[in-house]
Each structure stands twice: as structure tokens, then as C-alpha cells.
């Protein structure tokens, strides 16, 4: 399995502020990786380092088999779209298409035009006069037209309506399925990411908290629910990520270090959102873990909401 991205100890400091600290990640080819983390965690910094827009203060990184450098061949293989959607406000979408055709060795103008026509976005109007969502669509179409090997997207769907979001994510998934494309995209909307992503990079407080295939990560974590009591035994045998205690109940999210032997605790699987919230420091609401593959807890209490069919992993792949 080739690694499209490989970093080791990657650090970026701006004068007194450390934006990214000792980041070590790998992203295999063909993945759609979700880059999640709170605001200011370092997601944008990481993406910019990977794109070669910034230079690291320390550490190594390898992207598409080489260090990010000023080389047309290297640049042609990377697509990057920043949060602020940097397009020339006074030029039209058509101008951008022509510019891209001039500036890139591989360029699919027809693809962009088709896509924009399908979305009913006028190609001859100055981009600055389009709505925020339309601008985002133009930028996304342009970045796809470049046909890169690696796509780095910073909050790409933030400005899109729900339908457009789903449509775009579908397009991404199709492109990846065709082969030769890896995607790393940052977003706050974990539900969307769950739909298409199979790899996860979680960043918080300028550090990487998790990095790996989502299936594996979820498999490594469990939610343990049990009576309020001393949990030191559990803490010794497993890695507790987050513990929530109420007078009646203790909920633990643990990273498994071996099978859970304590019979007092119910074991259930973890959703991506719960995992994210736990690592990012939020409280995991006690009754919100939807039972998926394990039976309903004794006492007959049903989960508060039915699990969505498509949320069951494995169906959409």
C-alpha cells in the first residue's frame, strides 16, 4: 500500500505561536481522509504544509513521494482549495477555466463547464458577483478539473446547502473510486464525513490525536456503561479516553488494550461523532450511544433514536 502522505514530527511555529506540534501521520493511497478538529487546532496549517504553501519549522514530510517543492510536475499532482476560496473576484468562471488550461498540464475544461451548467451557475459573470455557495462550487469544480493525485480541501462544503453538499461528496467518492485520487478534507460536519470518508486525522490543541482508517479506529474503541464505582481497574487495563460520571452511572470511552473482562460494564460500539467529541474534550451524553451490533441493554430501554440504515458501516462501500 503506497503512502500518499507521510509526515514525521512535523511542526510549524509562527514567532511565539505553535500552530502544529510534532505531527506524525500517514495517509494511504485512495483514501478519503477526514481532517477534524476544533477551530484553531491546526487543520489549515497542516493542509498548507502538505500543499507546500508553508514551510515547516521542524520535522519531515513526504507528499506524493517527495517533499513539497516548486516543481511543475509536483504542483500538477496536488489540488488545494483554501477556506477563503481565493478566486479573482473580477474574472469570470470562464476566465478561471481558461487560466487553468494555460497553467496546468492536465486540465479538463469540459468537466468544469458541464458541472457549472448542471448547477446553473453562469460562467460569464464575475466571480465576485456570485453568491458564496456558487463561488464555492466554481472553486471545487476548478480544483477537480486539475486532475491531481492528491486533493487537499479546507472546509470545502461549508458554504453549500445540504443537497449540494451531498452531491459534491458523491462526486468526490466517484472520482476516488475511479482510481488515482486521494482526498484529505477538513470539515466540522462529521455526519457528512461519515458518509464518504474512510480515513481519519484528528487534530486538537495543535497535536494529532488520532490517525488511521476509520473502521480500524472504531474497532479499537468501545463505550463502557456501568454503575458508578471505582474504575481504577479499568483504567489499569484499558486506555480511558473519556469518563463521564453521574451519581447513578459511569460512562467510559476506552481505547481497547485487550478484551473487557469486568462484567459490571456494558460494552457497545462507538460512532464517529462520539469518538470525535470524546477526543476533543466534549462530554459524551450517557444515553446517546445507539446500539448497533450489540443487543439492547437489559431493562428494555430502547435507544433514544433509531440508527440510520446508511450509517451502518460497510453498506455503502
Amino acid at each position: 500500500m503506497t503512502l500518499v502522505i507521510e509526515t514525521s514530527g512535523l511542526t510549524k511555529r509562527y514567532r511565539k505561536v505553535t500552530a502544529l506540534n510534532d505531527c506524525t501521520i500517514t495517509v494511504p493511497e485512495g483514501r478519503i481522509s477526514a481532517l477534524i478538529g476544533p477551530n484553531g487546532a491546526g487543520k489549515t496549517t497542516l493542509l498548507r504544509l502538505l500543499a507546500g504553501l508553508s514551510r515547516p519549522t521542524a520535522g519531515q514530510l513526504s507528499v506524493n513521494g517527495g517533499t513539497p517543492r516548486q516543481d511543475p510536475a509536483f504542483l500538477a499532482d496536488i489540488g488545494y482549495l483554501g477556506q477563503e476560496i481565493p478566486l479573482y473576484r473580477r474574472l469570470s468562471a470562464e476566465d478561471h477555466i481558461r487560466a487553468g488550461a494555460h497553467l496546468n498540464p492536465r486540465w479538463d475544461s469540459a468537466l468544469v463547464r458541464e458541472r457549472l451548467t448542471g448547477l446553473k451557475i453562469p460562467r460569464d459573470r464575475a466571480v465576485g458577483k456570485l453568491s458564496g455557495g456558487q463561488r464555492a462550487q466554481v472553486a471545487l469544480a476548478l480544483v477537480l478539473a486539475k486532475q491531481p493525485r492528491l486533493l487537499l480541501l479546507d472546509e470545502p462544503v461549508a458554504a453549500l446547502d445540504p443537497l449540494a453538499r451531498r452531491n459534491f461528496l458523491g462526486v468526490l467518492a466517484d472520482a476516488v473510486a475511479l482510481g488515482n485520487l486521494t482526498v484529505v478534507m477538513s470539515s466540522h460536519l462529521i455526519a457528512d464525513l461519515e458518509r464518504v470518508c474512510d480515513h481519519l486525522i484528528m487534530v486538537a490543541s495543535s497535536r494529532v490525536q488520532l490517525c488511521g482508517d476509520i473502521e480500524e479506529l472504531l474497532d479499537e474503541h468501545r463505550v463502557l456503561t456501568g454503575p458508578s464505582k471505582d474504575i481504577t481497574a479499568i483504567e489499569r487495563s484499558q486506555r480511558v479516553v473519556q469518563a463521564t460520571r453521574t451519581p447513578r452511572q459511569t460512562t467510559l470511552l476506552v481505547r481497547l488494550n485487550g478484551p473487557v473482562i469486568d462484567p459490571a460494564f456494558q460494552v457497545s460500539e462507538v460512532s464517529l461523532e462520539e469518538l470525535a467529541l470524546a477526543y476533543l474534550g466534549e462530554e459524551v451524553p450517557p444515553a446517546s450511544a445507539p446500539a448497533r451490533l450489540t443487543p439492547v441493554t437489559p431493562g428494555g430501554t430502547t435507544p433514544p433514536y433509531p440508527p440510520e440504515p446508511s450509517a451502518v458501516f460497510g453498506d455503502d462501500r
Partner: protein
């Protein structure tokens, strides 16, 4: 990349071309009139009519004359409106990110953008200078003052050097400051400072000036359009005599310093000096320090080279800044 440069900056180039065209029309129309006036005056002079000093000829309309002097400022315009926004506007809007994430290296992006801008600056400076030099040629032939500061600056090839320098200064200011308005202010101030320092202090030293001494009773005017630095009179023991500002003088010698033999001679040109006076005055020497007229083009070349070297240094700074910096 060239297509993108044109598409981004075409309004600027078109406006510049329109201004050049308008200026050219005005200059050519009035210049032909001036030239005709001059040639007919010259012909009348050659035909035997006593020649009036043509310096009194009113050459060219006052407005165009003012406009010609105002071309002192045209180089800085391209620095302000073409140079400063080149990088700064893109930095402010963030669009450098778009360009730099296409498959074109920053080096190439910068090279193509700056290359075309410099070419445009050369055309701007060159066309204006050619028009002004042609327009002023009758006046130059008549008054022989093209070496003087103020006229030297608007003719020949130096305006090309100034324009290139102004654009380079603007681009560098924009690249360093990353904001258009401060870059504009810095470009304006820097251009004025550089031009003033070089014109008022450096230019007189390009080549050592020539000093010629001659008899006070005689006259010495160098050939052609020379650039006068200083003139005066040296006394018998070589001391510099003060300029006769308000006192009586004879042949530029203040009355207080005249030899006794010349005491009856009064007034600037009054009377004929006696032989004894002439004899006494032979110990005085008048001098003129100047740059000969045939050095005009050497000075033009040197000053153009200075500004081009400055421009090159500035562009090197821009390149290093942009290629090293985070986007």
C-alpha cells in the same frame, strides 16, 4: 501564464496605451508647429536678414510646455499604478494562492508577471521620452540647455531607466508590505527620494568636471549644450574673489578688488579700460567649471545604468522574499 497576466492587467495596459496615444497626438501636433516656426526663423536668418536671437521665440503653447515639464512625474505613475498593486493586490485578496496552486512555480509566475510589467514600463518611458526629445529639439538647439537638471531628466534614455526603477520599486514595496496603499506611499516617497538624491548630488560626480581659466577681459563659452557648475574670478594670488552681487564691479570683479589702475572704470561695461588697467587685469583669471556638452550621452548612459541596477537589486529582493516566504 502570459494569458493570465494579460487578462488580469489588460485594463491597466489599455489605459496606459490610451494616455500615451493622447499625449503623442498633442505633442506631434504642437511639435510640428514649433518645428515649422523654428525652421522658417532659421531660413530667414540664413537668407541674410539679421538674425534675432531665437531664444525669444515663443516655442510651443504654454500648456504643452507645462505638460512636457510634467513628464518628470510620468515614470512614478507606472510605479504606483502598475508596480505597487502587482503583488500587493493579490496578496491582499489572497489570489496568489490560486495562481501558486496551479502547476506553475512561483518563480515562473513572478518572472512572467514582472517581465511583462517591465516591458510595459520600458515602452511607457521610451515613447514619452522619444516624443519629448523630438518636441524639444528646436528649443534645445536654440537654448542649449538640455544638460541642465530638469531638462536632462525628461529626454534621451533616462526616463526609461526611471520607469523601470519605479515599477521595480512598486513591485518590491508591494511584495514586502503585502498591502496596496502602504506600498503606493512607499513607492512614491522612495522614488522621489532616489531621484532627488541622484539628480542633486550624485549626477555632478559621474565624471570629473572640467575647469577652464581664461582672461577676465575675454569671454569663454564652451561649445554645445554644456552644464555649468560654477564660474568666477581668481585674484592675482589665486584667491577666489566673491561674487559681485550688489556692489559695483567690472568684468565680474567687485570694485573693492580692482587694481588701482582700473579705478576710473566704473559700471558693468562702462568705458574702455586703459592699457595700464589691461596690464593689471592680466593677473586676474576668470574660470568656468562645467561638464562639456559632448558628455551628455555618457551621463545619460551612466544614470540609466544606475537606475537599472537599482531596479535589478529590487527585483532580486522581491524574488527572494516571495520564493522563501510562506504563501
Amino acid at each position: 501564464m502570459t494569458w493570465l497576466v494579460w487578462r488580469q492587467h489588460r485594463v491597466q495596459y489599455l489605459v496606459g496605451a490610451a494616455l500615451l496615444a493622447a499625449f503623442a497626438v498633442m505633442i506631434v501636433v504642437t511639435g510640428t508647429q514649433v518645428s515649422d516656426q523654428f525652421h522658417s526663423a532659421q531660413a530667414a536668418c540664413a537668407a541674410g536678414q539679421p538674425c534675432q536671437h531665437l531664444g525669444g521665440l515663443f516655442m510651443g503653447s504654454r500648456v504643452v510646455g507645462f505638460l512636457v515639464i510634467a513628464t518628470l512625474g510620468t515614470p512614478v505613475l507606472v510605479g504606483l499604478f502598475w508596480g505597487a498593486p502587482l503583488v500587493a493586490a493579490e496578496a491582499e485578496a489572497g489570489t496568489t494562492q490560486f495562481a501558486w496552486m496551479q502547476s506553475v512555480t512561483r518563480k515562473r509566475w513572478l518572472a512572467v508577471k514582472i517581465g511583462w510589467m517591465l516591458l510595459a514600463a520600458v515602452i511607457w518611458g521610451g515613447v514619452i521620452s522619444a516624443l519629448v526629445t523630438w518636441w524639444a529639439s528646436p528649443t534645445n538647439a536654440e537654448q542649449l540647455n538640455q544638460f541642465d537638471p530638469g531638462r536632462f531628466d525628461i529626454m534621451g534614455i533616462v526616463p526609461v531607466g526611471y520607469s523601470v526603477f519605479a515599477v521595480a520599486l512598486g513591485v518590491t514595496a508591494g511584495a514586502l508590505l503585502r498591502r496596496t496603499l502602504p506600498a503606493l506611499a512607499v513607492t512614491l516617497a522612495g522614488f522621489i527620494a532616489a531621484r532627488v538624491v541622484i539628480t542633486l548630488w550624485l549626477r555632478s560626480h559621474y565624471i570629473s568636471a572640467v575647469t577652464t581659466t581664461y582672461n577676465v577681459l575675454g569671454n569663454f563659452t564652451p561649445k554645445g549644450a554644456y552644464w555649468q557648475f560654477a564660474s568666477g574670478v581668481l585674484g592675482p594670488n589665486g584667491q577666489q574673489l566673491p561674487q559681485p552681487n550688489n556692489t559695483q564691479y567690472f568684468d565680474n570683479i567687485p570694485q573693492a578688488y580692482l587694481p588701482r589702475a582700473c579705478s576710473e572704470v566704473t559700471g558693468p561695461n562702462g568705458g574702455n579700460p586703459t592699457p595700464a588697467c589691461v596690464q593689471a587685469l592680466s593677473h586676474f583669471h576668470a574660470y568656468l567649471t562645467y561638464q562639456p556638452g559632448d558628455r551628455f550621452w555618457a551621463f545619460q548612459g551612466i544614470e540609466t545604468a544606475i537606475f537599472v541596477v537599482l531596479a535589478a537589486a529590487l527585483i532580486a529582493v522581491t524574488a527572494v522574499t516571495l520564493l522563501r516566504r510562506d504563501a
